[in-house]
Subunit: 259 residues, 2 copies
């Protein structure tokens, strides 16, 4: 298949810019009038509305693509052949509802199973992280410097709250060897931190749409993205994933108890 990475990158940036604008304008206004009772429905509606909008735009510009998305407006995808778009309309739902900041919208594009282009918008900051291995990485079209290959002791790590608190896989042994522990509650926001070197590791149980865009960009930035059991990442299943500098992921895999 003949694909133009640069064109897809521009398409994603322009699409997420619109999505971000809608989410900022709409949601804040409507959330404030929501009662406790109907708030969950409202969030689901925002999620669905946003996903429908994104998927329609993708179908219009890339009719040959298949779409994997959270809320059910995607395709039934059985393999990774051809052009596949992964869509997470609102990532960090709790932050969206409770904080009104630190939530994201993400799209990851793969070609025949290979990472091609990813894009993540930090909605409230209106910053878009985008790009891939071929065309490079950008924040709002400004080139990102590749993060340094820091060891665990030199950086902050973010581990999903349930995993960290229950000490699953003895992950607290990894946390203790780091400079400190942070929990931001949105994969998309944390991918931004990893790409800019603000954190050196993220570990969480992630669905395909949680991981897709971040994986494309983190790998392009020279970071490691691995499944906890050392198996190759499977983009059609959920799994526990570690993303971080080469050094940190190697240290983490030695420290974690996975059996």
């Amino acid at each position: 298949m003949n694909v133009d990475s640069k064109e897809i990158d521009e398409f994603l940036v322009s699409l997420l810019r619109k999505v971000g604008k809608n989410l900022r304008e709409d949601s804040i206004k409507k959330m404030s009038v929501a009662t406790k009772k109907n708030r969950n429905d409202l969030v689901t509606n925002f999620d669905k509305k946003t996903e429908k909008f994104i998927n329609n735009e993708i179908k219009q510009f890339y009719p040959e693509a298949t779409i994997v998305s959270e809320e059910g407006y995607g395709d039934l995808v059985k393999d990774m052949s051809g052009l596949v778009f992964f869509v997470d309309p609102i990532d960090g739902t709790m932050n969206f509802v409770k904080r009104g900041d630190n939530f994201a919208s993400m799209i990851g594009v793969y070609i025949d199973g290979q990472p091609l282009i990813g894009a993540i918008i930090d909605v409230m900051d209106n910053e878009i992280y985008h790009g891939g291995k071929e065309i490079g990485l950008y924040i709002d079209n400004e080139k990102i410097n590749t993060p340094k290959n820091l060891p665990l002791v030199e950086g902050l790590v973010d581990v999903s709250a349930p995993m960290a608190l229950s000490n699953r896989f003895s992950v607290q042994d990894v946390i203790k060897k780091s400079s400190g522990f942070r929990v931001y509650g949105s994969a998309g926001i944390i991918f931004g931190h990893l790409l800019t070197g603000k954190e050196v590791m993220y570990m969480s149980y992630l669905a395909p749409w949680d991981l897709a865009a971040g994986r494309v960009m983190c790998e392009a930035a020279g970071l490691s993205v691995v499944s906890i059991d050392g198996a190759p990442i499977n983009m059609l299943e959920s799994q526990v994933v570690i993303v971080g500098t080469q050094k940190v992921v190697s240290e983490a895999l030695k420290t974690l108890k996975t059996r």
Copy 2:
């Protein structure tokens, strides 16, 4: 003693604006050339330099005041009589060093032991939270709406990493009853979240300069600030503190195992 709250508030805002500018310009430049070896010294130097600057300004405008501060340029304070300034030049040191965001500078002012005015600057966002019970609360001179008295199940909680991971006081029982767990790693930044309703509780072991400014403003916002053992807050000692909505603090105190 005759004190003018509004004048002190204006003094703190103007002082922290300068401190923020210096920290943004200086530190980023110098940190980037620091080697791993001399980095800790460099941070200590920034801390000391900033504290010296703040304390000198206070001494100049409020020569009668006593100063409690972290790095040793303050006074030896034995009681809370008169005008007392608490100074934390850089709060969230690890964020300052590792992330380059989410760190703060804080000043809390007390009169005869009573909270008077607090001010916290989110250095990188250049936002100053300031005010007190008498004059009201502001972000950069814009009035803050009082946060809602939400129950635990309705909000996000931030607990210091060591306390949460080791489940001290069975704090994980509190976390599990909330909407979610976050760790931002800077008391000053988290006080901002509490004041704007983004989080409903913060629990940590805090020194007087960590707590002073936040306590003034959180109490003025109708939030509860309590020592974990139910004793009155002692502003001349470090202690484990819970700050949150009235409902959340009451629920937390019932849930925590403090003996």
